[in-house]
């Protein structure tokens, strides 16, 4: 056997089993959902009925359904603010947690905690328990503190607190990625810079940040994907609503899902474009 063929075979053997699972439970459902988006789907007790309608459902979602552009525009605006905030917050936290100080192990443990908490269901449980968003913020102590402020300010403060908590909770994985990135930089580089007279501030901008650019990129991508697939996402709610609605049905819901997917794709494309230069992807 030629070495080249053998290499190819070893390559395939490493992905074979994963690939089967992936094709069955991810790739095929994806392709099938595209087929459904071109059809009007009716669910009957023992089977699904398909009636081919072409791009009609896409047309309807884009130009006739007032709800979709409204919800998505609001959500994009919100994401534009929250994604950079999450990444910058994770970066600052990672920088602090990467310093040497007593109790660093415990501190890191506490700050990775959101990784356990944000994964969908638990945070849902938390918000559902007493109806309304992050209800424990309305608990006596916090409310009393906020109530001493004028009304409009009280609302603003509650909102900021609400979103601040969200930012904290959605930055766990990113912190982990960034700390790992910082640890991948050779410590002797810092020593060399120190000998050459660079202070900590200069080291941060000239060594740490350029060194972890690939990890910052991963964090941004992860944050965008995370934000767009969280159970709180209003667009997912619209999609779920249409799943249950017999008049529009599965076909229409999958058409929205595909449009939504294109939107995420465009946003990630823009992110890659921004990172192209620092990552050295430019050709």
């Amino acid at each position: 056997m030629k070495i080249e063929t053998r290499n190819k075979l070893t390559g395939f053997s490493f992905i074979a089993i994963w690939l089967i699972g992936f094709l069955l439970f991810w790739a095929f459902p994806l392709i099938f959902s595209f087929f459904m988006s071109l059809n009007h789907v009716t669910i009957q007790t023992d089977r699904l009925l398909f009636e081919f309608v072409g791009l009609q459902q896409y047309h309807r979602a884009l130009f006739m359904d007032a709800e979709i552009p409204n919800v998505s525009l609001l959500f994009i605006a919100q994401s534009l603010i929250i994604v950079p905030v999450i990444v910058v917050f994770a970066l600052i936290m990672a920088l602090m947690l990467n310093q040497k100080f007593p109790g660093r192990g415990v501190a890191r443990a506490i700050f990775f905690l959101p990784v356990v908490l944000t994964s969908g269901n638990l945070i849902n449980e938390l918000t559902n328990q007493e109806q309304g968003t992050l209800s424990f913020l309305q608990s006596a102590t916090v409310t009393n503190l906020v109530m001493t402020l004028p009304d409009t300010w009280a609302l603003a403060v509650t909102n900021v607190l609400n979103s601040f908590l969200m930012v904290l909770w959605y930055s766990g994985v990113q912190m982990l990625i960034l700390i790992a990135g910082m640890q991948s930089i050779n410590p002797s580089v810092y020593e060399a810079a120190k000998i050459d007279g660079a202070n900590d501030w200069a080291s941060l901008w000239l060594i740490t940040l350029p060194g972890i650019t690939p990890f910052i990129f991963i964090s941004v991508v992860y944050t965008v994907v995370d934000q767009f697939t969280t159970p709180f996402n209003p667009i997912l709610e619209v999609i779920l609503h249409h799943f249950r609605e017999p008049a529009t049905g599965y076909g229409y819901a999958t058409a929205i899902a595909w449009l939504y997917f294109l939107l995420i794709l465009i946003i990630l494309g823009l992110v890659t474009l921004i990172f192209r230069k620092p990552l050295g992807l430019k050709k």
Binding site: F25, A109, F112, V115, S119, W169, V173, L176, S184
Partner: protein, 284 residues
């Protein structure tokens, strides 16, 4: 205490900020624990209180009673959950890491195209593929089997994505050197690559564990036999119906804490080993 004296002003500032934010981070955990011990009167109190005033074990007694009253014994749900979660985590980690290795360090036809598919499925709304998955699971004939729980969890795209990105950061010279020394691909994967991507392994493990341990959808969609369903499903049934919805609110709060504990434990164990390997990693 000599150690404390030598730490600088900067360290003190960092400690102060971290303590402040850490307090906020702990809030949800404290909330889960405190809610589990709230008596009925406090669970429905408006405005709700953050901390429990008169802690009681009543919720746990209620939970045990509800568990005994169920048609399928509670231990069966627990057993199902442990089997399904354990198997899913092990299988998913093994296959995602080998796959990530192939994507990162090997060449095979269709590689770029396949990885684009991984990225695409990462971004796709999971709700949109539910129906097709159901069709596939029923076609495979694995409805009401443990395979029905486990197989759909095996190919997690996020696992492959995270691990591949970490492996990309390991210099190719490292694996090339091993190859010249005569190491096989599997040796390189096991001895050189894996020890260096432990942070990613830990993260993926936590993500998969969470996803499977708290998941109710495979119980609802792929299982018709009550005895094959898992713990989180049982907990959602606790508060089914109007009467039980109110009366069992306490039991549900206790169940919330019981479900949360394994999450917390696995996290505590994993994060320690993750930090240690990060410090000892050979990349830097």
């Amino acid at each position: 205490m000599r150690y404390l004296r030598v730490i600088s002003l900067r360290t003190w500032i960092i400690l102060l900020i971290l303590t402040g934010i850490a307090a906020v981070f702990m809030l949800p955990v404290i909330f889960i624990i405190s809610t589990a011990f709230k008596p009925m009167s406090e669970l429905f109190l408006y405005p709700p209180r953050f901390l429990v005033q008169n802690p009681t074990m009543q919720n746990f007694t209620d939970f045990m009673q509800a568990a005994e009253a169920a048609i399928v014994p509670f231990s069966r749900f627990l057993f199902n959950s442990v089997v399904v979660t354990g198997a899913s985590v092990v299988i998913a980690l093994l296959f995602s890491s080998t796959c990530a290795y192939a994507f990162s360090k090997m060449n095979f036809p269709g590689k770029g195209w396949l990885f684009s598919m991984v990225i695409i499925s990462l971004m796709f709304a999971p709700e949109a593929v539910v129906i097709t998955r159901f069709l596939i699971v029923s076609q495979l004939g694995i409805i009401n089997t443990y395979f029905g729980h486990i197989l759909p969890q095996v190919a997690v795209p996020v696992g492959v994505f995270l691990m591949k990105q970490f492996m990309d950061q390991i210099p190719t010279s490292l694996s090339e050197a091993a190859r010249i020394e005569g190491a096989g691909e599997f040796d390189i994967y096991r001895r050189i690559i894996m020890p260096n991507v432990m942070p990613a392994v830990g993260t993926v493990m936590i993500i998969v564990f969470q996803g499977v341990w708290m998941d109710t959808s495979s119980s609802v969609l792929f299982m018709t036999d009550e005895a094959m369903r898992t713990l989180p499903y049982f907990i959602t049934t606790l508060t089914d119906g109007v009467v039980a919805g109110v009366a069992r609110q306490g039991a549900a709060a206790a169940a919330g804490l019981i479900m949360f504990l394994p999450n917390f434990l696995i996290f505590a164990v994993m994060q320690k080993s993750m930090i240690e390997t990060m410090v000892n990693s050979g990349i830097k």
